[in-house]
């Protein structure tokens, strides 16, 4: 996409997304705009110079000169970083989401920074035999292998974790986006599949999981001490944990692996693999993290 002409009046370049067009074509009334959000995807707040010698008028000079790209029609490519409405103006800290790899040995990623999801039992067995780190059993989830845990709170040492996180900053609902061709979400014990809210035109499935409703997935973090199993240094809110149930396509076929992936060797065994990303977003605070996931199948 090109940059928008910013030499004159402010203009607004609006397009329907691919999902919007799909819903419009469906003609079933599902194309109904009911709310809006603002985003600042192009902005790097690192350019906000609070110490500018010329004064506060120059703090955001660089930011205001940021060129803005034309609109993407791909619905998953836009509106990454949304603006937040919080009535209080005196907040100095905002909560974040962090991947907790230190909770126990099961939440650790592979050394190359991804979770390794075995899509069939052969692969599970081989990865376990070879003690490959970061493995998640996608064929028989909950059988003692790894899972993903995301913690929420104020990750600052300026405030003690014994303080409670303000209620309006506590995340109560998470959105997990995952390529539906590869896997589905399941709880860490492998007993309950998560319900898909919708699958978009790019086969990205969105799961909405709420505190109090999806108790196997979203829980209050009641740990208030500074201990080694926590990644949030300050006040803690909730955490989300889940595992993956590999799709039948990946379990029984190598088609997607050969089309979208390649092969790799762990130990002395070769595997097909394909890389993907799972996005976790806080529905309340809008903060998000992308978690790299590698799906593997023994050759």
């Amino acid at each position: 996409m090109a940059f928008l002409d910013n030499s004159g009046d402010i203009i607004l370049d609006a397009v329907l997304t691919d999902t919007g067009r799909m819903r419009l074509a469906r003609g079933d009334g599902s194309f109904k705009i009911s709310k809006f959000a603002f985003a600042d995807d192009e902005i790097d707040y690192g350019n906000y110079d609070k110490g500018h010698a010329s004064g506060s008028a120059y703090y955001d000079l660089q930011i205001l000169q940021t060129p803005v790209l034309e609109a993407f029609t791909n619905n998953t490519s836009s509106m990454k970083n949304k603006l937040l409405s919080i009535s209080r103006t005196n907040l100095l800290y905002l909560p974040v989401l962090e991947l907790n790899e230190v909770y126990d040995g099961s939440t650790t990623m592979h050394g190359d920074d991804y979770f390794l999801v075995a899509v069939d039992e052969d692969t599970q067995t081989q990865l376990q035999t070879d003690s490959i780190a970061g493995r998640i059993f996608g064929a028989t989830p909950g059988s003692g292998a790894g899972y993903v845990r995301v913690d929420q709170g104020l990750d600052t040492s300026d405030i003690s974790p014994s303080n409670l996180l303000d209620a309006d900053l506590t995340e109560t609902q998470y959105i997990v986006e995952l390529d539906n061709r590869f896997a589905s979400l399941i709880d860490t014990a492998g007993t309950q599949m998560a319900s898909v809210s919708f699958i978009d035109d790019d086969q990205i499935a969105s799961y909405y999981m709420s505190l109090g409703t999806d108790n196997l997935f979203v829980k209050n973090n009641e740990e208030t001490a500074t201990i080694g199993t926590q990644v949030i240094s300050g006040p803690r809110g909730t955490y989300l944990q889940f595992s993956f149930q590999a799709s039948i396509d990946l379990n029984s076929s190598t088609f997607l692996f050969t089309q979208l992936g390649s092969t790799v060797t762990y130990g002395s065994t070769s595997y097909y693999y394909l890389d993907s990303v799972v996005r976790v977003t806080g529905a309340t605070t809008g903060y998000k993290i992308d978690i790299p996931v590698r799906f593997a199948k023994k050759v």
Binding site: L4, N6, I10, L12, D13, A14, V15, L16, T17, T19, G20, S30, F31, K32, I33, S34, K35, F36, A37, F38, A39, D40, D41, E42, I43, Y45, G46, Y48, K50, D60, L64, T66, V68, A71, F72, N75, S78, M79, N81, K82, L83, L84, S85, I86, T89, L92, Y93, L94, P95, D155, D158, D168, F198, D200, Y208, G282, T285, G286, Y287, K288
Partner: protein, 375 residues
């Protein structure tokens, strides 16, 4: 409670309708003469019409501009047995009938009406032999703008493909639909239409605005070839050959050698539809009109009140959970808007709008961004 979405209220959404016009100037060189061997002219095996492109039509870059065809009514003298050995007689009748039933409709007995010179179907002079120019929707869009059409044909001189240095074409005649803004007809099943006039005020055809079709009487192309009583017409040039070359056979268009055949342009050995279309194209000096696109728009007023959208979930907004735009709690938060997302109730992004430059949002200002979606 922190929120990232804001719901639209009833007064945040407005529906409007706008008519957008574009000027479409077409030079005669596009219709003939720009490309060697008429590479931008597409003829079909069925021979019932000819398509004009703005570029050699075999290229994917070519855009369809208009089609040309000719036809005559079953009530025309040309449809009689005298002419039944002439080229494509049946197809010309079929084409006329097809266009007439779409554009003029049927009478109370179910019979297809002929095109009428002044739009008064109850009587008067009928256009029984016609040239049809059908504009592609790519150019015509939703409709042609009333009162904007004009075309200039070169009606004298020796016919032939116009080329630089060829000055044989003379006698330019301009026709237009002047006054159609306030004077048009609505008794067509194909929508509104206007009357085309020559510079002398003669009624020489019809223009169907929604259909994007121009119907020219055959009389346009020769003074003696007009229907009896049509009046005016372009008439023969002051001297020299009569023309132009609706039929590329000189004998056919030249009234001095073919005076008995006022309808020669549509008959004779060379009077095929594509031959007649060739001649019409080669006579065209210029053509222009304005098209109309009807934009139905929904305008969403995205209002950011002073207490809203002052924080960001941008990862660069925080350093160790601390806002990078604040030093202390009493500093005002600030955020910058570059995008507006329009969402469904289930949080699917249905439309997105981008600002050309970042907009600063603080608790001391309020913004209303007007996002228009056109359908």
């Amino acid at each position: 409670m922190a929120t990232i979405f804001k719901s639209f209220l009833n007064n945040d959404v407005a529906v409007t309708r706008t008519l957008l016009h574009e000027a479409i100037p077409l030079t005669g060189t596009i219709a003939s003469g720009t490309y060697t061997a008429d590479a931008n002219i597409k003829n079909y095996a069925h021979g019932m019409f000819q398509s004009v492109y703005d570029y050699p039509y075999l290229s994917s870059s070519a855009n369809h501009i208009f089609d040309v065809t000719v036809g005559f009514s079953a009530n025309s003298n040309l449809s009689g047995t005298t002419h039944n050995s002439e080229a494509q007689q049946a197809k010309k009748i079929n084409l006329y009938t097809q266009m007439a039933q779409i554009l003029v409709g049927h009478d109370e007995t179910g019979t297809v009406r002929d095109f009428d010179q002044d739009g008064d179907l109850s009587g008067g002079i009928k256009i029984k032999e016609a040239v049809f120019i059908n504009f592609a929707r790519l150019l015509g869009k939703d409709e042609l703008k009333k009162g904007s059409f004009s075309a200039t044909f070169l009606t004298g001189g020796t016919p032939g493909v116009r080329a630089p240095g060829n000055t044989n074409h003379t006698q330019p005649i301009t026709i237009n639909d002047s006054g159609a803004v306030n004077d048009y007809r609505v008794n067509s099943p194909a929508g509104e239409y206007g009357i085309l006039y020559s510079a002398t005020g003669s009624q020489v055809g019809l223009i169907y605005y929604q259909a994007g079709i121009v119907v020219l009487t055959g009389a346009v192309f020769g003074g003696d070839r007009k229907e009896s009583g049509l009046g005016g017409g372009f008439g023969p040039p002051a001297s020299g050959a009569y023309g132009p070359a609706i039929n590329t056979s000189a004998a056919a268009y030249d009234i001095s050698t073919n005076s008995s055949s006022y309808d020669a342009y549509m008959t004779g050995a060379a009077g095929s539809i594509s031959g007649a279309a060739d001649a019409v194209r080669n006579c065209l000096q210029s053509m222009a009109f304005n098209n109309t696109t009807e934009l139905n728009s929904t305008i969403y007023f995205c209002r950011a009140n002073h207490s809203e959208f002052n924080y960001s979930s941008n990862p660069s907004y925080l350093a160790s959970s601390k806002l990078v735009v604040k030093n202390k709690t009493t500093d005002m938060p600030v955020s910058y808007i570059t995008s507006v997302g329009l969402y469904s109730a289930d949080n699917e992004l249905l439309a997105v709008a981008k600002l050309s430059e970042p907009l600063k949002k603080t608790p001391t200002n309020e913004l209303t961004l007007r996002v228009r979606l056109d359908y």
